[in-house]
């Protein structure tokens, strides 16, 4: 302030005024609502409509959920307890819980076996999913898991899975012995070794040696069946998918042609027709008298189906790699198998992970289609034995809601995991 104004100004404030609060419309919840929900008239109308929709859905759903009956022997008893009020009859879930999870034929006193197998599944896949957190030694258990799970779920002599494991072991030893000379030699040698071991051990009688009670495949059912089909088919189809994708990229015209025809054929037909093939046609193409159980046939078909889709995803990954990577691998003097194993596939698979997870989620949802060929998976159980029973005839929403809920958690969980993994793998420095 200069001296000239000293006499013309009567009062000069010497300290700053405290900051005033922003106006009510410009702070807190109101500001947020003005910006995010009522920024313009059409937006406001949309918000009101949406609010009404949410209210309508919740006001229908919440009483039904909160007022539900969890303990009743039948739908009539349920309705008596409710006495005209709105409320779900969730007693069907508690009463038929085991049927929904294990199917109606799996022996009741053996339920602990699939349960243990299910818990072990998490221990087995943990080191694969979270490879940074868990010790690498746990992968040994992952490798053993399929055999343990088979023995737990199907029962029978422990020698069957052990012999299968020995076959794989022999194959691996042969492979690691010859792979130094040439990959093809190691690979085919390993397969031959495994086959010979299985053929030899197949002649040893195993009946009743260290046996648990055996459960035939046709007794599997419920959500367990969906999980078995989902995990087995996804894990089997990844190696087949890689092989098909490499075959489709191959320079050898005949091999490329086989892979293209296979992939395009499988992708062109609906899964249901393949399941029909499994249930009615496949038997015609097998040697007379072979007794092949339905689950195995379905697993073969779904695996073929999934590997064609995974092959396309991986082909996308291979095509997305810059050509320089292939040329760099060649100029290092690596042969085809080495360059694929060490340079190309690790990068291509990383790019393809989101696609592979999408296929896996889709496949897991598609396992419900087996109910169409009269297998009693979760949906088959609901539509068949449970809704047809006199006690629970008419309890649609509770059962279908439960089924959707189970599938939702599983599939949503998987897709969230894949997004997390994508962020983890994002190693380019941006």
């Amino acid at each position: 302030m200069s001296d000239t104004h000293q006499h013309s100004i009567r009062f000069v404030r010497e300290s700053m005024l405290p900051q005033q609060e922003p106006p009510a419309t410009e702070r807190g919840v109101i500001k947020w609502m003005r910006e995010n929900m009522f920024s313009s008239i059409p937006n406001g109308i949309l918000t009101l409509i949406a609010l009404y929709a949410v209210y309508a859905i919740l006001s229908g759903l919440l009483p039904w959920l909160l007022n539900g009956i969890w303990d009743a022997p039948s739908i009539r008893a349920c309705r008596e307890i409710l006495d005209g009020q709105t409320g779900g009859c969730f007693a069907v879930l508690t009463e038929r819980w085991n049927q929904l999870l294990f199917g109606f034929k799996y022996p009741t006193h053996l339920y602990w076996r699939p349960t243990v197998a299910f818990i072990l599944l998490f221990i087995a896949i943990a080191p694969v999913l979270f490879y940074n957190t868990f010790p690498r030694q746990m992968l040994i258990f992952t490798a053993l898991y399929p055999f343990v799970a088979y023995w737990l779920i199907w029962g029978g002599s422990i020698l069957v899975p052990i012999f299968a494991l020995v076959g794989f072991g022999v194959g691996y030893i042969v492979y690691s012995k010859y792979v130094a000379q040439s990959f093809a030699m190691g690979f085919f040698g390993g397969i031959a070794g495994a086959l010979v071991t299985w053929w030899l051990t197949g002649m040893i009688p195993v009946e009743g040696v260290l046996a648990m009670e055996a459960v035939p495949s046709r007794d599997m059912g419920g959500f367990m069946l969906n999980l078995i089909l989902g995990t087995v088919c996804v894990s089997l189809s990844i190696p087949f998918g890689i092989a098909l994708a490499l075959g489709r990229q191959s320079d050898m015209p005949f091999i490329k042609w086989i892979c293209v025809v296979f992939i395009e054929f499988i992708r062109g037909v609906p899964l249901i027709t393949l399941l029909f093939v499994a249930s009615v046609v496949l038997a015609y193409f097998l040697p007379p008298g072979t007794n092949f159980d339905l689950i195995l046939r379905v697993i073969i078909m779904i695996t073929m189906f999934a590997s064609a889709y995974i092959a396309e995803v991986i082909r996308g990954g291979l095509a997305a790699l810059p050509k320089g990577q292939y040329e760099a691998a060649d100029s290092l003097g690596l042969d085809y198998a080495q360059s694929m194993r060490l340079i190309i596939l690790p990068q291509a698979l990383k790019i393809s992970i989101p696609g592979i997870v999408n296929v896996a989620v889709g496949l897991f949802k598609d396992t419900t289609l087996v109910s169409v060929i009269s297998m009693f998976d979760l949906v088959g159980m609901i539509r068949g034995p449970i809704l047809a029973s006199t006690e629970w005839n008419g309890v649609y929403w509770e059962l279908l809601g439960f089924a959707s809920f189970l599938f939702f958690i599983t599939c949503y969980g998987i897709s969230q995991y894949s997004q997390w993994l994508e962020r983890q793998l994002n190693t380019d420095h941006r």
Binding site: N36, M37, S39, N43, L46, T47, A50, L51, A53, V54, D251, M252, P253, F254, I255, I258, E264, F265, R267, G268, V269, P270, L271, I272, T273, F276, V277, V280, V281, A283, Y284, F285, L286, P287, P288, V361, K365, D366, T368, L369, S371, V372, V379, R383, G394, Y396, L400, A403, S404, F407, F408, C411, Y412, S415
Partner: protein, 404 residues
């Protein structure tokens, strides 16, 4: 002077088949060929053996035999005296019908949900996210069953519509929702009705012609013709004029309650509606994600550049964002259409008589011709998907970015 010459040509040795990369690929292909031949002859041999044992043969004669079963929805003339071939054709048409309806509905739902998910309105975008996640992560078969249950177990029976104190009533006396399907009015063409339809079709052509003309004029002279109201006028005025001049030749046949059921009108089966809407909302969720990804793929710089050229927001969307977003959206959109067509085979779960229900269901069970029926079924779906991917390849090569 020295001369460079090729090293002396090695004579061919047998070990070169394995060790020399020039010949190794032939060895591999030969082995693969042998494996394929072995596999197919193994399967074929078993097939012949099994067919002999069962006293069967491969023959398509059953297609000419009388089908002896009824189909609840037929788009062409069909009775239980028609042939199995005719039944299969009815099934094909039903498949195409539900696939077409579901594709159109799914596109509308998907585009709306995808655009709304990008909305600045927090509530709306969260609601759309919930829709997308909820519908993508639950099997489509469960959605089909849920909607089918609504159609059959929740909707009133036709007899609830009768009497003084009826518990159910029709909408505007024209539409009835019953557990035997939805009844809607049926347009009846009287003499001259065809003329109205033809005029209407011609006016659709006229709209396209007018729009072409407007674009051409715009490019040639820079003069802009209005397109909004002339489109509506060309579309409706001539058809309405013909309609009134010819003395209202098109009337509606209302569904009427007669006896225990509705008579007249068009009956849309509950199974068709279940399949149609389940496929539409399920696939709509996937399309919504594609649309969102497509719009987000257009970089912000494009919007800003267009704005700095002085374009208005509507024109930025129409002329800059959409053409670029469509390039990303359309290929997955078409493969979603393909998925709808393939998933429509789930009709068998709710008893809708599509090709899987007629040829792969009743015909197969009646004649026992499993191999032939399933081969035909696969051939049909394969033909459709190959046709669609052919169209997609043409589109992709046409839309490919022309980079220099």
């Amino acid at each position: 002077m020295t001369t460079l010459s090729d090293p002396p040509r090695e004579s061919f040795r047998l070990s070169m088949l394995l060790n020399d990369t020039r010949y190794r690929s032939y060895t591999f292909q030969f082995i693969a060929l042998l494996c394929v031949i072995a596999l197919f002859s193994f399967l074929g041999y078993n097939l012949v053996k099994n067919l002999q044992a069962a006293g069967l043969n491969i023959s398509y004669k059953f297609l000419g035999e009388t089908s002896n079963y009824d189909i609840n929805q037929t788009l062409i003339d069909y009775s239980s005296q028609s042939t199995h071939w005719r039944a299969a054709v009815v099934g094909v048409l039903n498949t195409l019908l539900v696939a077409f309806l579901a594709c159109v509905t799914a596109t509308i739902i998907g585009v709306v949900a995808g655009v709304l998910r990008l909305s600045k309105n927090w509530l709306i975008s969260k609601l759309m996210a919930v829709y997308v996640e909820a519908f993508r992560n639950v099997p489509v078969l469960i959605w089909i069953i849920i909607i089918f249950t609504v159609m059959t177990a929740v909707l009133p029976q036709p007899r609830d519509f009768r009497g003084e104190n009826a518990t159910a009533s029709m909408w505007f006396d024209a539409v009835a929702f019953t557990n035997r399907g939805v009844y809607i009015p049926k347009p009846v063409l009287e003499s001259g009705g065809m003329a109205v339809v033809i005029v209407f079709l011609l006016s659709i052509v006229g709209v396209f012609a007018y729009r072409r003309y407007a674009t051409k004029l715009l490019y040639a002279t820079g003069k802009m013709l209005p397109t909004g109201w002339p489109t509506l006028a060309i579309l409706f005025v001539p058809a309405l004029l013909t309609y009134f001049v010819l003395g209202k030749p098109i009337s509606l046949e209302m569904p009427v309650l007669a006896g225990f059921n509705f008579k007249g009108g068009i009956n849309i089966l509950g199974s068709l509606i279940a399949l149609w809407f389940a496929l539409a909302i399920y696939t709509g969720a996937f399309i919504a994600e594609n649309v969102r990804a497509g719009i987000q793929a257009v970089s912000r710089g494009q919007t800003e550049a267009a704005a700095s050229l002085g374009l208005r927001p509507g024109r930025i969307m129409n002329l800059v964002i959409l053409p670029q977003a469509l390039r990303v959206i359309i290929p997955p959109l078409i493969s979603n259409y393909l998925n709808i067509t393939k998933n429509s085979s789930l009709a068998i779960a709710v008893g809708y008589m599509d090709i899987t229900g007629t040829l792969g269901g009743i015909t197969l069970n009646q004649t026992g011709r499993a191999i032939e029926a399933i081969l035909l079924l696969m051939a049909f779906y394969l033909a459709i998907s190959l046709a669609i991917s052919f169209i997609m390849n043409i589109y992709n090569s046409k839309m490919k970015l022309k980079e220099r």
